[in-house]
């Protein structure tokens, strides 16, 4: 049996098991077993993949398999992974694993929560392993729908509004996406839905590409928080429960970048080449605009959501530069941002769970009250502003050096503009750190609060270790990604 199928089967089994769970202990046991199994699986897959690659296997996709679903429309369940998807699977399983611990004490309806949570992760895993347009789209939708319930039911604040807004905007994106996919399918002669076969055919007329590239790119771009379609992100994140924020910002937003790269750019190379400038401008705006907006926010989650807009903007920005190093940097940035932002949201959730406020004006001196969480927050902050030794630095530097390879005034200018985000990031991160962590505690109520519990510590430590691991030894992951990026770019630069 193909090992990749396990990524779908394990969550399915988990769903069934959760269905039958009778109490909290069973739910927790199921979730821990399942997510650990998935984490182990993806780690195993990564190791296997690297050793296969080192063994000289240079096919574009490994572990390929295909089963026909619906013959007349050439819909298959095709699966396969390259370096990029392996990295993404690893990221997803880490986030799902830590997210489980982050929502360890979530109430009420814990069982139902985890049911939807697992369904969401099923969609994410499915998306990353499939190589068939239709299957990919199906899994994509599977990942989106549970989000509505997770935010709408278990969220806080204006949860119904935010859940509705998020779902509607993402669904709007999917509408574009569906059109794009159909355009690609029929444009390439309606013979196959398999991404690689379409890429190999390379027969979509340029005029068709011009229509469907923007659709596909925007369709995925909405999920990747592309300006001006990013406003679901602040509201959605602000209202979502902790682990959903983690999963959403950490993984789901990466679906956008991955899709842009894997489908929009890969299958519609001509249009990508010609229309890139429009999107480069939009993403540059995202990068700077998100960072600048973050400076004057007062809600911790809004700050982080705008920071995500900025960082995810950088992902799309790098993809559009279409050089190998920039694209490698983009994927690295996805990984790194996924881990960092998950860490951030986890910490914010933990702090919010104690202080019951996320307003930075109402918190002070948390370092004295909850040193563990505060130190975690400082580490997350430093990682976020791209300090060497953390993953953010590796990703950003690869992106900037890669982007600088494109030798013309326009690209150079936008690269330099995007570079300024590293300063602005420092401003908003240090503002928050100085504001809420340092100083003397002002609020009497806060003095009684306790530091992190074991499950929270576990979550934070896992994520910090991952962020540092990539930051200190980036070579293996960079090589892993590089091989995948190369194959995709060959098609674009053809």
């Amino acid at each position: 049996m193909n090992i990749l199928l396990l990524f779908v089967i394990i969550p399915l089994v988990m769903l069934l098991a959760l269905w039958g769970c009778r109490n909290l202990t069973q739910v927790r046991a199921t979730m821990v077993t399942g997510s650990t199994a998935l984490l182990a699986l993806s780690a195993y897959l990564t190791v296997e993949f690297i050793s296969l690659r080192n063994g000289g296997n240079s096919e574009a996709m490994l572990y390929c398999d295909s089963w026909s679903w619906y013959e007349p429309l050439n819909i298959c369940l095709s699966i396969g992974v390259d370096g990029i998807s392996v990295a993404m699977l690893l990221l997803s399983s880490i986030i799902v694993f830590t997210g489980t611990f982050a929502s360890w004490r979530l109430k009420p309806m814990t069982k139902e929560f985890f049911l939807w949570y697992t369904l969401l992760s099923l969609g994410v895993y499915g998306f990353f392993i499939s190589t068939d347009l239709f299957t990919m789209f199906m899994f994509y939708e599977t990942a989106l729908i549970p989000m509505y319930l997770l935010i709408g039911v278990w969220g806080s604040g204006r949860k119904e509004y935010s859940a509705m807004k998020l779902t509607l905007m993402l669904m709007g994106g999917s509408a574009f996406l569906l059109m794009g996919i159909l355009g690609i399918y029929f444009g390439s002669g309606a013979t196959t839905m398999n991404i690689h076969e379409i890429a190999a055919l390379n027969c979509i007329p340029t005029a068709t590409q011009y229509i469907f590239f923007p659709m596909t790119f925007i369709g995925f771009g909405v999920l990747g928080a592309l300006f001006p379609f990013h406003t679901w992100s602040p509201d959605g994140h602000a209202c979502a429960p902790t682990s959903v924020s983690m999963l959403h910002a950490g993984v789901l937003m990466k679906l956008g970048g991955y899709g842009c790269f894997r489908i929009a750019m890969y299958l519609l190379p001509q249009a990508a080449e010609d229309l890139a400038w429009i999107f480069i401008i939009l993403t540059t705006v995202s990068v700077v605009y998100g960072a600048l907006s973050a400076i004057s926010q007062t809600d911790l989650k809004y700050i982080n959501a705008y920071s995500s807009v900025s960082h995810c903007g950088l992902v799309l920005f790098a993809i559009l530069m279409m050089t190998k190093s920039a694209c490698t940097g983009a994927i690295l940035q996805m990984l790194s941002h996924g881990l960092m932002t998950a860490l951030f949201f986890a910490l914010i959730g933990m702090i919010y769970g104690r202080t019951h406020t996320r307003d930075i004006r109402q918190m002070r001196g948390l370092m004295k009250i909850m040193p563990f969480l505060a130190v975690g927050y400082v580490i997350a902050g430093l990682a976020n502003l791209g300090l060497p030794g953390f993953s953010g630095f590796v990703a950003e530097m690869t992106i900037f050096v890669g982007a600088f390879e494109v030798n013309d005034i326009f690209h150079r200018t936008v690269t330099i503009i995007a570079c300024t985000s590293i300063v602005i990031t420092a401003v908003y991160i240090l503002r928050v750190v100085g504001r809420i962590l340092y100083g003397e505690p002002e609020n009497e109520e806060h003095m009684k609060l306790t530091d992190a519990t074991w499950d929270e510590r576990f979550t934070v430590i896992c994520l910090v270790i991952c962020v540092i691991a990539i930051g200190v030894a980036p070579m293996w992951i960079s090589n892993l990604i590089n091989s995948g990026v190369g194959d995709v770019l060959v098609n674009i630069n053809r």
Binding site: I295, K368, Y438
Partner: protein, 641 residues
């Protein structure tokens, strides 16, 4: 050379140990772990430096650069990759000695100074982190490694300035320091990007073909890199963070903000010197002018500050500017013909690190004794703190440029280089050197001479005017005085090191010889300045001092407020960037972009509300629609036929 890896590994290890388990250790153990690991590092650094210089010159008569380690950390594309490694060149060997020595002194000193402080282990962890980063910076094999460690020293500086994290001033200062230097680093990064792209390497020695093709790009890249260096080295107008950084513990100021990190910009310029001199002499001269202006500005401001650490901070800025000027006035790579400045700059870096470290540690001892930074709380301390007094005096003489103390020799070389560049520059810098002597002795007299604040307070207490008995100043403990004495001894002898034998602009041995004309002038100027300072400040309330204060009232006030540079920056950041850009953008996002989406949603709802009555659920209405529809189709068919 193989042992050089441990120079980096030991401080890192000590940082990791202290960061992970420090909290569980008693203070003393944590301090000893940090200090011992640094002692070992220092020994290793000395051994490495000695073996490097003892290995002798190669056939060209220069010390070849040794690169015992260099590994690819992150390949970026076919040509570029980020490497990490160790490269020992004459200046990095010199820096190794400087950093480890000062750091060791600070480690020992802090055992006494920080005794009983909350977060003692954290303090030692950060010190180790800083030492690691700074050592990594100077042994960098390429510009990108330098940038990596550059950022790391920045963050360690941030953490250490904000060590007293409950003090609002410290929080603000640490934030300011990080953001200002980060802003400068942006230019550094862009410079590196340009450099990397056109030179096709990040190493300090690009290929000939790339160099030949680079043309005007290289000066741009070097200028941008210098801006990065200017941020770290507090050149005007990026100097604003350094005076505020004095909010950190005083030993930290001695280590980071006086001796080592702040000279990183000078080190960077010196590291890139071969490229500067060959391809961008214009940029180099710009650096000289910026440096000269900064030196003047800082010297003026230093003359009127009342916080002793601020005086030292501005004096640091001024002295670093001297080093920058020395590099900037170079016109050739031969030390005999226009390349003297390079050697002078490095020499001054070396001596300055020692005596400025001494000054700061001395200031720390004083602050420790009187529990204040303000000069008004001092005065007459020479009776109470003899060791601190003598060592502080030695350092003051050194910085003022009085022989035989080390500062004289290095400053003399800088002045000689300036005179060689142009007479006005030489005169200008001589004047600033005299100002240095003036403000340092002003400080010296205010601290150690004049009326004792303690005695005044004691008299008041005895006469019953104040309730609390004042705290009697006392000499610092051994852990603090021993480093002072060691550094004072070093200050006395460092000037006699034949520095040019080891470091010169083209690598060949250069015998330092004193230019008698320059030396005499500068000694005369310094002595005059000291005499003026003596007249004005040896006793408080001298008439001449009062007269000067009245006559120069406005300039003094402006200088006291640092010529309102901080306010200008605050205006730009707070008023313009925060209020005029960020706020409107955040507003725009909520009220325009988001609102337009909400409007779309509202529009859809409105449309829905509009056509909803059609689906009334009333069968009769449906029948009407049905019938009228049928009739319409019928009529249409009739019409078509």
């Amino acid at each position: 050379m193989e042992q050089s890896i441990y120079i980096l590994a030991l401080p890192l290890l000590s940082f990791i140990t202290l960061a992970l388990i420090g909290k569980k250790l008693p203070h003393k153990v944590a301090g000893i772990i940090g200090t011992l690991s640094l002692l070992a590092t220092t020994v290793l650094a000395y051994v490495t430096t000695a073996s490097y210089f003892l290995a002798g010159r190669n056939a060209d008569g220069i010390f070849a650069e040794a690169m015992p380690y260099n590994l690819t950390w992150l390949p970026i594309n076919e040509t570029l990759s980020i490497d990490l490694g160790i490269l020992i060149s004459p200046i990095s060997a010199m820096m190794l000695v400087v950093i480890t020595t000062i750091s060791l002194m600070v480690h020992i000193y802090s055992l006494g100074y920080m005794k009983g402080e909350r977060g003692f282990q954290r303090y030692y962890a950060f010190l180790s982190l800083f030492t690691f980063s700074m050592l990594g910076l100077v042994v960098a094999t390429n510009i990108f490694q330098m940038y990596i460690f550059w950022e790391l020293v920045g963050v360690s500086s941030y953490l250490l300035i904000g060590f007293y994290y409950t003090k609002p001033a410290a929080i603000a200062a640490s934030k300011k320091a990080f953001i200002v230097t980060r802003f400068a680093d942006l230019f550094f990064l862009i410079g590196i990007l340009i450099y990397g792209y056109y030179m096709e390497t990040f190493s300090f020695t690009p290929g000939e073909t790339a160099l030949a093709a680079a043309g005007t790009v290289l000066p741009t890249a070097l200028m941008l890199m210098f801006i990065g260096g200017a941020g770290k080295s507090a050149m005007f107008p990026l100097h604003i963070w350094l005076p505020d950084a004095m909010e950190g513990p005083t030993p930290v100021s001695a280590l980071i903000h006086a001796a080592t990190m702040v000279v990183a910009g000078v080190f960077l310029t010196a590291r890139m010197f071969p490229l500067f001199i060959e391809f961008a002499p214009g940029v180099l001269h710009t650096i000289a002018y910026i440096g000269a202006f900064t030196a003047l500005y800082a010297a003026i401001v230093a003359c009127v500050q009342t916080d002793i650490k601020r005086v030292l901070a501005f004096s640091t800025i001024s002295q670093i500017a001297f080093m920058m000027v020395a590099l900037g006035v170079c016109t050739g790579s031969d030390p005999h013909e226009g390349g003297l400045g390079y050697m002078a700059s490095m020499f001054h870096l070396f001596t300055h690190a020692i005596f400025k470290g001494l000054l700061f540690l001395g200031a720390g001892a004083i602050i420790h004794a009187v529990h204040s930074n303000e000069k008004s709380h001092m005065g007459g301390l020479r009776k109470y703190m003899p060791v601190t007094h003598i060592t502080f005096l030695i350092a003051c003489l050194a910085i003022a440029g009085i022989p035989p103390f080390s500062g004289f020799f290095s400053k003399d070389e800088i002045l000689a280089a300036c005179y060689a560049f142009s007479k006005p520059m030489g005169l200008f810098m001589s004047g600033i050197a005299a100002m240095t002597a003036f403000y340092m002795f002003r400080l010296y007299y205010l601290i150690f001479w004049g009326k004792s604040h303690y005695e005044e307070q004691l008299a008041l207490y005895r006469s019953g005017n104040i309730a609390h008995e004042p705290h009697k100043p006392h000499e610092a403990p051994m852990t603090m005085t021993v480093p002072l004495v060691i550094l004072a001894a070093a200050t006395c002898v460092a000037g006699f090191i034949p520095f040019g034998e080891f470091i010169s602009s083209n690598g060949h041995a250069y015998a330092i010889h004193l230019d008698t004309k320059v030396a005499t002038t500068s000694i005369l100027l310094a002595v005059t300045a000291i005499v003026i300072a003596t007249i004005m400040y040896i006793k408080p309330g001298r008439r001449i001092t009062r007269v000067v204060k009245v006559v120069l009232r406005e300039p003094i006030r402006a200088a006291y407020h640092r010529f309102y540079m901080d306010e200008a920056w605050l205006f730009v950041t707070k008023k313009i960037i925060f209020n005029c850009i960020s706020r409107p953008i955040a507003w725009f996002d909520r009220h325009v972009i988001d609102a337009s989406l909400d409007l779309t949603a509202k529009g859809t709802q409105w449309l829905g509300a509009l056509i909803r009555p059609l689906q009334s659920g009333n069968v009769q209405t449906y029948c009407v629609y049905l019938l009228s529809g049928a009739l319409m189709i019928l009529l249409l068919l009739l019409y078509l036929n």
